[in-house]
Symmetry: C2
């Protein structure tokens, strides 16, 4: 018998006997896998969902349960925001930068309202209210927050700003868990056969190149699962796979905290082995939660040369990603006493210096005279006029920081909590078909979520909720297409 | 009969009849292919070399014919430079950054002197002299130049600086052509069968996964070439393939001038289709030739916020690559009258502003007051003390620019000549075996040069001569391994 490997499909003709049969095998029980399974089952297919852990969840359950939706939702309208499909699509493309998949952006912009309604009809609760301000996640059960760089330059010049982060009604952080629970319940009701403690270790391919099954390791035994209509990979990114990071995304070694559910890139490996293309593999999201407590969002960032490098009213992840691009091993967040509060413990942001003047802070940081101090004098002079002519930071975050005492917080790429996950993955059509390098579908193979490159394509443009939007919406597309 | 495709190997069992047979098929007749063919033929193999153009050359023949060699060459020693294998290896690794292949760096550092001797023994002439100063290529027939960032921070703190660019004796630019001519002559003498106007369009793979041949299109007909010992891909990068750039390296669309011999990535596609891994695909080299005429190397760069961003005494390509990272569509090169000369026509660098003071230049550029002017005041004050405390530029390039009139040259990412080529490609062992995603060789498949990821792995660390060093040295390794 041939060897079972993540790296190449097992030949169907060498399968002695199928241990299980199903129409569609979904691999991975996060939000993408759950949505794919629900849609496939409702379309009439027999669906078996394999999850290597002992229950549903994946990286989705570790998230805030926030989904990026625009185009004029009830919550947006109730809060007085006008959002259009065109503005929404324009923002999605800007957030993807050079890496954007315009077809996916356009499709999602057109269908996001329907998708939001679908989520509600699955039982995902939304209180419907708007929470102003800058939040990583609401700490109460609010629905609508600003979760990206919509109101910040240059995005505000590209698309009319509107808040688009829609958070499941849930008190406190961690709305991802109840979101997945609800989706799991719908999947089970739809008749999806859920098999846990079952790790997919290889695809099975027939002589024509079609994916016809998957090999699943259960209780230390390989089971051959025939999937008559195909396999849907929803296995997450590769933030926890050091070999893949070394080959495809080595810049992540500058920071230290992968997040996710031990995402090992297995689905990307299997998909590539079956001829699937993997794209944008060097892209990653990172953030250090510097905007909490909220007053800290008023701060100014400088690099070790004392230079600003971004309008700090951008999404915290965009600021953090640009920070990691700076030379050296740290950047500083500068605050005055009015806007300073103790950073979150988990952020591991230390107080690097304090002073009655910015010059004292500069000296305490051993920085070259007239670097940080000059930067802050320049910033404050313009902020008093309501302007940031260099980086276009806008009110209310644009405010003078000129009443001491002052503090410099250190965001250190090694020791602070720069969480990250990978954004590159399998290239898929907007219907969730895995595409080969010639751009045509690998028959019988589908994928969604972070084992693909999707809406969140560019680390510098990430916005909260983009990944769950991508997982849930394109998970549904993949499930439907597989069942078609 | 199956379809012939770059994207997947043609099955050997479906080859009706072989049109040609050889021990080793080398694809591509640049420097890498020539060196692979020479070594394979001298090892006793029957070698056939296929080139899609009508003669040898490839991107190598369009280059300066400069090879990065260190560790104590005759030219280095004659000029009074002490270089060690350890320093050379340390520089190679620093130049590769997070993307460095340490095994290749160490092997090349150890064997570079032997390799340089081998090149000379093939008849590559070196005058042996040292040409001080900062040159893109010597305009005379000098041998040894500074061709990277060796003497610049932080490289100078990592490895004792030494010049390592070794240029073929040849008057004027374009030493790549005579270099390839010499290698071609050696290949023909060694009995290599050269077939031109022959484009490889598919690999041929047997049922065990071994590469056993190549399909070559000649006179609009596909010929099946059996290669008993294997195929060596030396087909270059993908700078001229817009689809591949979109998928793997979209940041290159910010600049406009691919260089090379219509490098279409065909070898990378074929190698991936055969199961080869492709790594670091988002990396690219770029440069705008701003250090010529030589006085311009004394200039200072600022971005549109008037900030410096690099020690400008780094290699021109490193400075250019960092320039492309800056926000906006241009950067400015600032010079005083003593150091200004008309830029090269080919660079398409325009004079954006002039002034008697830096403040006048700033105003003429419509920049915010006290940005560029303050930057230059700060720079000049420290330069007069022989210091650049922020970016560590060093003498002699560190010199005050404080005697007007002054000029700002515009390097525009769209309209200036930012040439680029891609650095990502097939992952190979140091012996030139193409590795699959599990890290084991694809039997019968070898590769070298820019269809692989090699010594020049990181756009920000590129140094002139690294690519030809990689092509010639690892081309030889691949040829030897294929013949072994």
């Amino acid at each position: 018998m041939s060897e079972v490997s993540l790296h190449r499909p097992f030949p169907a003709e060498k399968v002695g006997q199928w241990d299980m049969e199903t129409d569609i095998a979904v691999v991975g029980f996060g939000a993408a896998g759950a949505c794919a399974a629900i849609e496939a089952a409702r379309a009439g297919a027999q669906v078996t969902l394999f999850e290597r852990a002992s229950g549903s969840g994946g990286a989705s359950a570790l998230s805030g349960g926030e989904i990026y939706v625009g185009g004029g939702t009830d919550a947006q309208r109730a809060a007085g925001f006008t959002d259009t499909i065109e503005d929404f699509a324009a923002y999605l493309k800007a957030a993807g930068g050079a890496f954007a998949d315009e077809t996916k952006c356009d499709l999602y912009a057109r269908e996001a309202l329907e998708h939001y309604g679908w989520l509600k009809s699955q039982g995902v609760p939304y209180r419907g209210n708007y929470l102003p301000g800058k939040h990583i996640e609401p700490v109460d059960d609010s629905t609508l927050i600003w979760s990206g760089s919509e109101a910040a330059w240059p995005f505000c010049d590209i698309a009319v700003p509107a808040p688009r982060g829609h958070v499941i009604a849930h008190s406190g952080w961690g709305g991802g868990r109840p979101l997945v629970d609800i989706l799991e319940a719908r999947a089970r009701e739809a008749g999806v056969n859920v098999v846990t403690d079952a790790r997919a270790v290889a695809l099975v391919q027939d002589g024509t190149g079609r994916i016809v099954g998957v090999v699943v390791r259960m209780a230390n035994r390989d089971r051959f699962v025939r999937a008559r209509q195909g396999v849907v990979l929803c296995t997450g990114g590769f933030a926890f796979n050091e070999s893949m990071r070394q080959r495809y995304c080595p810049e992540t070694f500058k920071i230290s905290c992968p997040i996710g559910d031990q995402d090992d890139g297995a689905g990307i490996e299997m998909g590539m082995g079956a001829g699937g293309d993997a794209i944008h593999m060097e892209q990653f999201f990172t953030t250090c939660p510097w905007t909490m407590p909220e007053p800290q969002a008023f701060g100014v960032f400088v690099n070790q040369a004392g230079q600003r490098f971004i309008n700090e009213d951008c999404y915290h992840g965009r600021v953090s990603r640009c920070a990691v691009d700076q030379m050296g091993d740290r950047v500083f967040l500068l605050l005055d006493i009015a806007h300073f509060d103790q950073p979150l413990d988990i952020a591991r942001i230390a107080i690097a210096a304090t002073g009655e003047t910015w010059e004292e802070v500069e000296a305490e940081l051993d920085m070259v005279p007239r670097t940080l101090g000059a930067t802050m004098a320049f910033y404050n002079e313009h902020a008093r006029q309501g302007r940031d002519p260099l980086f276009h930071k806008r009110p209310p975050m644009l405010t003078p920081l000129d009443q001491g005492p002052f503090v410099a917080l250190e965001l250190n790429f090694e020791s602070s909590y720069f969480s990250f996950f990978t954004l590159g993955g399998l290239r898929t059509s907007a219907q969730g078909e895995v595409l080969n390098r010639a751009g045509t579908p690998v028959p019988g193979l589908f994928a969604a979520g972070r084992c693909t490159s999707g809406l969140p394509a560019w680390g510098h443009g990430y916005s909260s909720g983009l990944s769950l939007a991508d997982c849930t919406f394109f998970g549904r597309q993949a499930g439907r297409k597989a069942a078609a």
